[in-house]
């Protein structure tokens, strides 16, 4: 009924081919759901988006011929997602301006060249079962993004949409990123919760609260009395995760302070808005307490838009930010102040004239792209890679060795850091205890853990390119018979079977998830 497209993008290119490190010298290509090419997209009815990152592959789907599905995302996710896509398109444009346009079939994709690739790259290019090669696509165009966004219907948190009269979907805050959500889907024969993440405590993003959870619970399980002990509940609400996250951010900040003191600069290539915002808040604190004046630059074609957007969305933020709205000096983020008094600068590109005028080192720079192949980061990395006092912060999950290969040798310090990007299995099991669903689908990689933990849950495991069939949890649909109609009912008794029956004649309507019989 619904399909969720999340993009896995992987790019490997470099102009270092001649050096013989085996990298591909080309414009990055992208891969989305492998089966996308073979699907009949006209069979998709609804696409639900959970986060800004989760919609980066959407234009690949919406531009396909015959795509008519309804796409739903939260307002914040669709806005941020759109800006991220536009930024990506911009970086590609810039790439082509530097290196010239590419033919339809780049040289590296010719068979004789592919044969020469190192084993590791071959695996990436062809996929584990060797079928992925055809899925590598050039990036969509700005027009694709525009057309795609016209098809996205955006919602507020907890705003219900009704598909086809009978299926109701509702996004509930998940607490991971601004605008990210879990989906609750109610149908006549069972209810589904799609949980991408559940974070109960977060300073910046709006979090799922108790009501939302019970909302999820009721519908996921339909058990009238979910007997949850308070211990489980408080464990789920524990602040550990959040404090750990703050510790991590503080660690990055203190490392940065050390580097700055030694005269080095800080380079943070990330596309995650939540991380940028949190880091800006922490940096502000650290810099103020150390009484240092170091300019912070956010360089991206959409930096201005992103920061303006974040300053007008109290409805999408966590308690801490909302409280700032109700304070004497209303302002959601510290960055509004920092922008005003010249501690923070936003620039669309590294070659902006204004930027060159005020550029000074040491400084702190946030810029795309995390792959280190596109955007301002490539230039800055070249500049600072030899400086042992400078610091590069990259996210865990990328192969540091591979992404840094073209920039070697590197004297610069590299800090690899994992940010909160989902729910731990332990927590998800706790959540299941509260929700008491009749059936749970876990990703295949959790199979071992779930098995060893001996969880008493009816569960199955999903993996890519596989369709699972889950039986209905409800035996039958329910019908609401209007009182006007019900008053006309006259029962006839069948003595033998001990059954009273009546003829029911009226109009059947389907409205907001309900079958109704009216006169």
């Amino acid at each position: 009924m619904s399909a969720l497209i999340s993009q896995t993008c992987l790019s490997e290119d470099s102009n270092e081919e001649k050096r013989g490190n085996g990298l591909i010298y080309a414009e990055p290509r992208y891969r989305t759901v492998t089966r996308l090419l073979s699907w009949n997209v006209s069979f998709i009815d609804v696409v639900l988006i959970t986060s800004p990152n989760g919609m980066l592959g959407l234009p690949f789907l919406t531009r396909k011929k015959g795509f008519t599905a309804k796409v739903y995302a939260t307002k914040a996710a669709s806005r941020i997602g759109q800006l991220m896509m536009e930024d990506l398109v911009y970086m590609h444009k810039e790439f082509r301006q530097f290196y010239g346009p590419e033919s339809d079939e780049p040289i590296w994709m010719k068979w004789d060249r592919l044969e020469m690739l190192p084993l590791e790259l071959k695996k990436t290019v062809f996929g584990a079962d060797g079928t992925d090669f055809g899925c590598w696509m050039p990036l969509y165009s700005a027009a694709d993004v525009k057309a795609c966004m016209l098809k996205v219907k955006s919602l507020n948190y907890a705003e219900e949409i009704c598909y086809n009269g009978i299926v109701i979907a509702k996004p509930l805050p998940s607490g991971l990123e601004i605008g990210s959500c879990n989906w609750r889907i109610n149908g006549p024969r069972g209810n589904i919760a799609y949980i991408s993440n559940f974070s109960s405590l977060n300073a910046l993003e709006q979090v799922g609260n108790d009501e939302d959870r019970s909302g999820l619970a009721n519908y996921l399980s339909n058990s009238s009395s979910a007997d949850v002990n308070s211990e489980t509940r408080s464990a789920l609400l524990s602040t550990d995760e959040y404090l750990e996250e703050i510790d991590k951010l503080d660690f990055i900040c203190s490392c940065s302070m050390d580097s700055i003191k030694a005269g080095g600069s800080i380079l943070i290539p990330t596309g995650r808005l939540g991380i940028i915002l949190q880091l800006l808040e922490r940096f502000e604190l650290h810099l103020t307490s150390e009484n240092m004046k170091v300019p912070i630059f956010v360089i991206s074609s959409v930096a201005e838009e992103l920061m303006t957007f974040t300053s007008i969305i109290p409805e999408w933020l966590g308690q801490q930010c909302q409280d700032r709205l109700y304070s004497e000096k209303p302002s959601l983020f510290t960055h509004t102040e920092m922008l005003k008094d010249g501690r923070l600068y936003l620039f669309p590109a590294i070659h902006s004239v204004e930027l060159l005028k005020i550029w000074q080192e040491p400084c702190i720079v946030f810029c795309p792209h995390w792959s280190l192949r596109l955007g301002p980061v490539t230039h800055l990395l070249r500049r600072w890679r030899g400086d042992q006092n400078s610091l590069l912060v990259i996210e865990e999950g990328v192969d540091a060795n591979l992404v840094l290969l073209p920039f070697k040798p590197i004297a610069m310090k590299v800090l690899q850091c994992s940010f909160l990007s989902g729910m731990q299995l332990k927590k998800s099991l706790l959540l299941m205890k509260i929700l008491q669903p009749k059936h749970v689908l876990f990703p295949e990689i959790f199979r071992r853990c779930v098995d060893t933990l001996k969880v008493s849950l009816s569960s199955s495991f999903y993996q890519e390119n596989e369709t699972l069939h889950i039986p209905h949890t409800e035996d039958s649909s329910r019908l609401h018979i209007d009182m006007d109609l019900a008053r006309q009912i006259k029962y006839t008794k069948f003595e033998e079977q001990n059954v009273d029956i009546s003829r029911l004649k009226g109009k059947l309507t389907v409205e907001h998830g309900r079958y109704k019989a009216v006169r």
Binding site: L155, N156, Y157, A158, E159, E160, K170, E211, G215, E304, E305, T308, S311, I312, I313, P314, E315, Q322, L325, Y326, E328, K329, P330, S331, L332, D475, S476, S477, R478, L479, H480, I481, D482, M483, A486, I489, Y491, F494, Q497, N498, V499, D500, I501, S502, R503, L504, K505, G506, K507, L508, V510, E511, Y515, K516, A517
Partner: protein, 640 residues
């Protein structure tokens, strides 16, 4: 079951809006306003009618506030902090942000007037901490049964209409709303909902207003004329809403016409309200939202900071000063200084309560003298301009909304009695919707929707929802050359069987299984005589007609019947013709149930469901004379 509405305020008047609705056992208070005309306890709704014991927390499910105007929220701090209501309170994000400013402004005014204050600054702060902020369209489950949802209402920043539902009973409380967009705010927006009741404001129950753009243009013209001739413009407004709207107009106009005359805000809370407006820009009109990335409309470019020395500084200026009705405070102070000069201009708000300087000015003829108290008089020679702006919907808007929502009942509040009576008549006669407008402290009871719930089989749903198309050919006119029109009928069965035990609705076909009965079929049998002309009498009178004769007679019959019943078919082995379950075949004497012994007969059988159809066909056959002419034509056809 019923919905019970207790009107505690704004019943046949404007002021202290407060309606308590009991709906399927849940009790909701919509708005908790204050009456600005009184300064004693009469300014509050009579809360004692809600609960004798004074335990409001357990007698109310929740309190909902529609917007930050004092006649909608003014009594809230008193209700929560003094009377001790401790249950949930809902309002939109902007209302939660702006309400403390409005309340604090009011509190300071009473303090200045030296009156006894009903609540303190601390009360306001503590009260606001209990508030849950909501976003538009967000579905909020107050408890297991009660669900509420806010919809955009225009009027002021953050104003919302609220939908509340318990079980099948549902209502909308509109608060104040505006059905046409203006420069600052969009028009009210709501979904088509199934409603038992709409509680609507009716400030302009009988007024029809022009477009606001005309009024805006006139306002700008008046201000421009005054400053161009070196005059000072005083705009007395309260800190919130109106000030931002007018300033936005002026700032935009200043940009376009390149005016450099300074604009001032006297009150700090107005400047703070501007900051809130900047963050809450998503709640403004589409145009303001669309342009905010380039320039936030509340980032006023021409507004300069103000201090008292500027009151008598030479040269033109525009000054926003509170309070709005010139009832004292800074705006009155400035008025004293500026009123004696002809070149100056005072912009009076749309309505001023009686007794204030504002209302005296409103009715005065210039030049005049206005008495402030025994000793102080002001010479008024300046120009006076009355702002005609209103953020309330007019009568057309109310009618449009009621028509759109089509509830079973309408309850009018927040208006003047005679006008409400006129609107009630209009709603009842034009829309056919029951309507009432109770006075304060009256209770109205309204019936609500209920249903019974039953399981339902897939087969039943299928039979109701799956289209069941029937095609029908009809000849148009007598001209046989035009092809017959094909008509399509969607003949769905919305009929089923309800079982009482373990209530469940099933389709008729499933009943047998439920009851464990065998199938019995009722079949009708009829022998129908047909008239024929002499030429085929041979064939007809021969009681043992050959197969070919039988066939030709059936063909003849088929020809006649199929003309009127296009879905008539000839049986494979040509034993008979069939329409639906109706079958006609040649009647043989031996088997004939009626024992007809003469002439030509067709034996007709059909099942109970097609009775009507069967008799139609039979009457057709009876009224037609079979003739060989038509037989011939068939022969010809068959020869091919």
């Amino acid at each position: 079951m019923a919905i019970e509405c207790l009107v505690l305020g704004a019943g046949q008047e404007v002021g202290k809006s407060c309606v308590v609705v009991t709906i399927n056992g849940k009790r909701i208070m919509f708005d908790c306003g204050m009456h600005m005309r009184y300064t004693d306890l009469r300014q509050y709704p009579d809360f004692s009618l809600i609960s004798d014991s004074g335990d409001f927390t357990s007698s109310l499910s929740c309190v909902i506030i529609t917007h930050f105007h004092l006649d909608h929220i003014g009594a809230l701090p008193y209700f929560t902090q003094v009377l001790g209501y401790d249950g949930p309170i809902y309002m939109t994000y902007p209302t939660k942000a702006l309400a403390p400013l409005a309340l604090e402004d009011y509190r300071k005014q009473t303090e200045r007037r030296g009156e006894k204050e009903q609540f303190t600054a601390e009360h306001i702060a503590d009260c606001m901490k209990k508030v849950t902020a909501v976003d538009l369209k967000q579905t909020i489950h107050v408890d297991k049964d009660l669900q509420i949802q806010a919809y955009y209402a225009g009027h002021v920043l953050g104003a919302a209409m609220f939908y509340a539902k318990v079980g099948d009973a549902a209502l909308v409380y509109t608060g104040d709303y505006n059905m046409v967009p203006d420069r600052l705010l969009g028009a009210a927006q709501i979904d088509r909902l199934q409603l038992d009741l709409v509680i609507s404001e009716s400030t302009y129950a009988t007024t029809y207003r022009d477009s606001k753009y005309v009024q805006e243009r006139e306002f700008l013209k008046a201000v421009h004329k005054c400053v161009a001739s070196g005059g000072k413009v005083l705009i007395p407004t309260n800190a919130l809403g109106r000030a931002q709207e007018l300033c936005m107009l002026l700032d935009d106009y200043w940009e376009r016409t390149n005016l450099k005359v300074p604009i001032y805000f006297s009150s700090g809370s107005t400047i703070q309200a501007n900051l809130y407006h900047r963050i809450l820009i998503n709640w403004t009109s589409q145009k303001v939202k669309d342009t905010h990335a380039r320039h936030n409309a509340f980032d006023f470019k021409n507004v300069k900071s103000f201090d008292r020395s500027l009151i008598n500084a030479p040269g033109p200026c525009v000054l926003f000063a509170s309070p709005g009705m010139l009832g004292g405070g800074f705006s009155l102070e400035v008025l004293k200084q500026w009123a004696p000069y002809e070149e100056n201009l005072v912009m009076l708000p749309g309505s001023c309560s009686t007794g204030t300087v504002g209302s005296k000015l409103m009715s005065a003829k210039i030049p005049t003298q206005i008495k402030l108290d025994e000793n102080v008089k002001i010479d008024v020679r300046c120009q006076i301009y009355k702002l005609a702006f209103s953020a309330h919907t007019d009568a057309k808007g109310i009618m449009d909304l009621v028509k759109f929502l089509s509830p079973k009942h309408v309850l009018l509040v927040h208006g003047e009695k005679p006008k409400m009576a006129a609107l009630k008549e209009k709603i009842q006669s034009e829309l056919g919707i029951e309507c009432c407008y109770p006075a304060n402290n009256e209770t109205v009871t309204i019936p609500s929707t209920h249903h019974i719930e039953a399981g339902v089989s897939d087969a039943f749903l299928q039979s109701c929802l799956a289209p069941n198309f029937k095609f029908w050919k009809t000849n148009v006119g007598s001209d046989e050359r035009t092809p017959p029109l094909l008509q399509v009928y969607d003949d769905r069965v919305s009929q089923g069987i309800l079982t009482l035990q373990n209530p469940r609705v099933i389709s008729q076909n499933e009943l047998r299984d439920v009851l464990g009965l065998e199938n019995h079929l009722v079949k009708f049998d009829h022998c129908c005589s047909a008239a024929y002309d002499s030429e085929i009498s041979n064939a007809a009178s021969d009681w043992l007609p050959s197969t070919s004769q039988r066939n030709s007679l059936l063909q003849l019959l088929f020809g006649i019947v199929s003309r009127d019943f296009p879905d008539c078919i000839m049986h494979d082995c040509q034993k008979g013709i069939q329409v639906g379950s109706f079958v006609a075949s040649m009647c043989s004497r031996e088997e004939c149930p009626s024992g007809n012994a003469d002439a030509l007969h067709f034996r007709c059988t059909w099942s109970a469901t097609d009775e009507e159809l069967a008799w139609k066909v039979i009457s057709l056959v009876k009224n037609v004379k079979l003739s060989s002419a038509s037989l011939d034509s068939f022969r010809v056809l068959m020869d091919f």
